[in-house]
Subunit: 251 residues, 2 copies
């Protein structure tokens, strides 16, 4: 399992990913699922992945080594894509390439072709953007109406995002709320686990201000988990007791 | 979609169910999914259902009209079951009966046999118990370690239960927290919706103290939703800002 979220607010972009992978419950490992592509000031891009690890790692391989454009002869990578939209298209193309190579063999073994990606960043002075890219290579883009996207085990961590994330949430608050969302997911699903990788990109700078791995036991995150648990336990206490008793149900 | 939860604490049992059903996104209706079987002082039992409505309604039909026990000749219903365990076995038997009747036809139409139930209550001075019964007719019982069970769209509403429900939570708090869990689910999934049916049974009384339908716009539940949203938005404000910046990631 995996949980990743990307939050795109007025001030910038936050990407958060866990690192747990499992091939069955009895085979649990740690793999990085958040990749950063950066040439500070020129481009800053992060890619978070969920799904079959062999697929997502192969996609990453093609994005790093490049796929040849038959029309122009150019070897196309993330680092030489002219725009974020075209870079997202390249992720889609890499997914389709992996599907054409590995799909039939996976099919034969009854393994579904599962992969999804969050892909966000900024190239030169263009707009900071965030995309979600599906297993078919198609994508959607994050907008101001719902300023976040999620992949993987997204349900446990969605209520807090739905309620607390607005487009004008500060970048620091977006990171904090994203970590709460991650914590809610880890608390309820053992398939999502520490360490946590985060990337933070302020809008307009085309650089990754924060590229950080939060290890188990790290004091701030431990404190955040404790405080959030206490706040949740406490939050319902301020709500008056339910007034319902007896029956209003027709017999 | 459906969301139901049952919370079994020291003081008693709370059962909560939504009422939305959908056959596709374009065919949404309201059906009661929480049924009460009661002879006050002698037995108080509630059954909440999720899954295919034709299956769950047929199960209910057999539980009301009874299935003949070939050994004893008795017509077995919920109302004449001698213990909660035997009553739960009867729910399982009714599920298997529906499967034997409707399963082959559903199979032919490619429709999965989906049904699950929460089944809780007390018979005379026996123990108040809560069971979850699966589509195969097998069941598990709720214990003090995890004093709640959920069926249907359970993930959105699980984080608050995981954190706030303990075996010594009061019955009124259990109801309140259950309503918060329901609210979180409705907020994130349109397939779960008002009105909400609730049943509350204090331990030891074998009666349903509260058998209530909460309609849309009902003032207390509206206030609970507003207060909970505000509390969630506020809860993260007391957490200090994340101290992460720069990079601790090896290049």
């Amino acid at each position: 399992m995996t949980y990743c979220c990307g939050i795109l607010v007025r001030d910038g972009l936050v990407m958060i990913a866990d690192t747990r992978t499992n091939a069955g419950l009895d085979n649990i490992s740690t793999f990085r699922k958040l990749q950063v592509f950066e040439k500070p000031g020129e481009r800053a891009i992060a890619l978070a992945s969920a799904g079959n690890l062999s697929i997502t790692q192969s996609v990453l391989g093609f994005l790093n080594e490049g796929l040849r454009n038959e029309e122009t002869g150019e070897i196309e990578t993330i680092m030489n894509a002219p725009t974020m939209f075209q870079a997202a298209q390249r992720v889609g193309r890499a997914i389709r390439m992996v599907r054409s190579l590995d799909g039939p063999g996976l099919d034969q073994d009854g393994i579904k072709f599962e992969a999804s990606f969050l892909f966000g960043g900024q190239i030169s002075q263009r707009r900071l953007r965030l995309f979600m890219i599906y297993a078919a290579g198609n994508c959607i883009e994050c907008t101001v109406d719902t300023p976040y996207l999620q992949i993987g085990e997204h349900k446990y961590g969605k209520p807090i995002l739905d309620r607390a994330i607005k487009y004008d949430t500060t970048l620091n608050d977006a990171l904090k709320i994203g970590l709460v969302s991650m914590d809610s997911t880890m608390r309820s699903n053992l398939g999502v686990g520490m360490p946590i990788d985060i990337a933070v990109m302020p809008r307009g700078e085309a650089k990754v201000e924060t590229n950080y791995r939060i290890e188990p036991g790290e004091p701030y995150f431990h404190d955040l988990r404790e405080r959030w648990s206490a706040a949740l336990r406490k939050a319902h206490m301020d709500i008056p007791p339910p007034p319902y008793s007896g029956s209003n149900v027709g017999k």
